[in-house]
């Protein structure tokens, strides 16, 4: 592994226990890894493997029971709720499975949302950054479309633009293609690969093993532990896969 690259995420023996009634559930049983800048990592695992818990840790939505988590060099474990909110605002871009766009709100306003909680942006800077992010995901012509006037693929691209707008250290995608059909899924994957090519760090949590082929590294979880952590030296091109898909009949 090239140790001279910048470490964006570092987990040191992270454990997370939940109390369910009188029993303690060990969702994470000591997970350690480093993610370097510019990596496109898929985290895979069946349900119950702890991947959601790990995602919450990585997204600073939760703190470890024990162990250390450094995001872009800062320790998250001791942080207060408000401090973590600020950290999420500056360092993380979330993409959710079901888009989570604000209803009856235009694309630009949706993308502006994270910057609304960043007082260093004024209204015009916010709009400018949002438009730039929407251009980056190929929605320059859909700026004023409301969320209910867009297709699933478009909504997910708005969500990706929203994750990009604060120029985060890492983009966290949670089953980002889970609600999309095959063709649209590939379109979104093409976009992720493009962002990867531009040097963005991406973590893509999924249970779909196919997606791992398009990422640069795959971490496999089982029962709260890492079972496999492999570098993918043969990254497939999502664009090619998209081109090879059979054309829809009614086109």
């Amino acid at each position: 592994m090239e140790e001279n690259r910048k470490v964006v995420i570092e987990l040191q023996n992270v454990k997370r226990d939940f109390k369910v009634g009188s029993e303690t559930v060990h969702a994470l049983r000591g997970v350690s890894f480093k993610i370097y800048e510019g990596e496109f990592v898929t985290i895979m695992g069946t349900s119950g493997s702890g991947k959601s818990t790990l995602l919450n840790q990585l997204g600073c939505l939760d703190t470890p029971t024990s162990g250390e988590y450094y995001l872009d060099g800062t320790s998250v474990r001791e942080m207060s709720k408000s401090q973590r909110a600020r950290l999420r605002n500056r360092k993380i871009g979330f993409v959710f499975q079901n888009y989570n766009l604000l209803a009856k709100t235009t694309a630009v306003e949706n993308v502006e949302l994270p910057l609304m909680y960043n007082s260093s942006y004024n209204a015009s800077q916010r709009r400018e950054a949002a438009i730039k992010a929407l251009e980056a995901v190929g929605l320059a012509d859909r700026l004023e479309h409301k969320s209910n006037q867009m297709s699933g693929g478009q909504m997910q691209r708005v969500a990706i633009a929203r994750a990009l707008v604060n120029n985060p250290a890492v983009i966290l995608a949670d089953e980002a293609t889970g609600n999309l059909d095959t063709r649209t899924s590939f379109e979104v994957l093409v976009l992720f690969q493009k962002l990867h090519a531009e040097g963005r760090t991406i973590i893509f949590v999924t249970h779909n093993p196919e997606i791992a082929q398009y990422s640069s590294r795959n971490i496999m979880l089982r029962d709260g532990k890492i079972r496999e952590d492999v570098i993918n030296n043969n990254i497939l091109s999502a664009a090619e896969a998209l081109a090879n898909l059979p054309k829809p009949q009614d086109d």
Binding site: A85, R88, N89, T105, P114, Y117, R162
Partner: protein
């Protein structure tokens, strides 16, 4: 997150749930409008009472026989009601009172008044000539009787407009006609300018004014007065005038230092204050009743906000994920509830304002909205917004973003 953004978000949230927001506003609108209308009517009546009383003359001082009636007792000794004698009046007239400008003794009698085939029941006031100045009355037709008439106990009178129209329905001139009061003939020498009804609903034009000597001797056959009305030089010296009169009367009645006054002196000012405080009391009761509806409205807002928070759990989760702190979220919901209640307040004030105008034109109720009532309404609405929005806002702020974002 700055304040302006929060307001924008709140407006958006309210607009996207227009009907629901309007319903919860409705409580506030009705509450504020009710308070404003009640205050307007209360304040208006109070002002009109004050105006009425001051129309009668704010510098009027009334001397009544007997000790202060307020203290009660089973039944006052009849002799205690006869303490104001003719001699008192004459002595007061002769002594040079510094602060008293006019004085008129008063003897009254009620009864039937007849002219030809017409009759009316009225009250005759036995007064001196100065009564017109004290009560600020005017004789429009004819003239006031004279001091000479008083000296001679002449059977002359001036009549109020109501008596004139009752006895002379054909509109003929009453001057010079002889009317009968309790079978005693009185020659009408003048007609008083109409004063209309006072705020207690009493017709101020239904009266006869005759020389006090005439009423004392020819109607009542009594030697004492039912009261003596005076006017102070100016409103400001009323209290000095009262002191002066008290001292003089005590000396005349030869009261010892420890003895209580056997008369009572009240000023119009005092009556006005009593009336005002009664009106204030009524206003307060009305406003408190109306204010309870505001409390109910506040609970309504809290209810709607709780629904709104639950409904927007996912949105809260999203906002938290992208960096909203609990504080930002609670501010968002607080501002929303403040905006609902404040908008309701503004509409309520407008509704109350127009309703009170309507009240005064339709029901002839005097109304007046004090500015402070409007200011207080807005403050109360803000307090309601914060007070009843706090719990829902806190509930929103306390949400766990992990659970909130997965909420379906």
């Amino acid at each position: 997150m700055n304040f302006l953004n929060l307001i924008k978000i709140a407006i958006k949230a309210i607009r996207s749930n227009r009907f629901r927001s309007f319903l919860s506003m409705l409580g506030i609108i009705i509450g504020v409008a009710a308070v404003i209308i009640m205050m307007a009517i209360g304040q208006g009546s109070k002002e009109s009472v004050r105006q009425n009383i001051s129309q009668m003359g704010t510098n009027i001082i009334m001397i009544q026989p007997g000790t202060d009636m307020m203290r009660g007792g089973v039944r006052p000794d009849p002799s205690s009601m006869q303490t104001l004698k003719l001699e008192d009046y004459n002595a007061l007239l002769e002594s040079d009172l510094q602060f008293v400008s006019h004085m008129s003794p008063e003897v009254t009698a009620s009864g039937q008044c007849i002219y030809g085939a017409n009759n009316t029941s009225t009250t005759v006031y036995g007064e001196s000539v100065e009564y017109l100045d004290i009560r600020q009355l005017e004789v429009t037709d004819g003239e006031m009787f004279t001091n000479d008439d008083i000296k001679k106990s002449s059977k002359v009178c001036v009549i109020g407009k109501t008596v004139a129209t009752q006895l002379f329905p054909d509109g003929s001139d009453p001057i010079g006609k002889t009317i009968r009061f309790k079978s005693i003939p009185f020659k009408v020498v003048g007609v008083l300018k109409s004063k209309g009804y006072n705020s207690f609903g009493m017709d101020q034009d239904n009266l006869l004014i005759a020389p006090y000597t005439t009423v004392m001797k020819r109607i009542q056959a009594q030697t004492y007065f039912s009261s003596i009305n005076c006017s102070a030089l100016t409103e400001e010296v009323t209290d000095y005038a009262i002191d002066e009169l008290t001292a003089k009367l005590r000396a005349l009645h030869k009261l010892k230092d420890f003895a209580e006054d056997d008369f009572t002196i009240r000023s119009q000012q005092e009556m006005m204050d009593t009336m005002s405080s009664t009106m204030d009391m009524i206003t307060i009761i009305l406003v408190v009743a109306a204010a309870f509806s505001l409390l109910v409205a506040g609970i309504g807002i809290m209810n709607i906000m709780l629904v709104s928070v639950t409904e927007r759990t996912k949105e809260i989760g999203l906002r938290m994920s992208v960096g909203a702190r609990g504080f930002d979220i609670s501010c968002q919901f607080l501002i929303e509830s403040i905006m609902i209640s404040l908008t309701g307040g503004i509409i309520g004030v407008l509704v109350g304002y127009f309703a009170s105008i309507l009240c005064s034109t339709l029901f002839m109720l005097p109304t007046s909205i004090p500015l402070w009532a409007i200011v207080v309404s807005f403050i109360v609405c803000t307090v309601i917004g914060i007070g009843f929005g706090y719990f829902p806002a806190r509930k929103a702020a306390m949400m766990d973003p992990i659970e909130a974002i997965r909420y379906e």
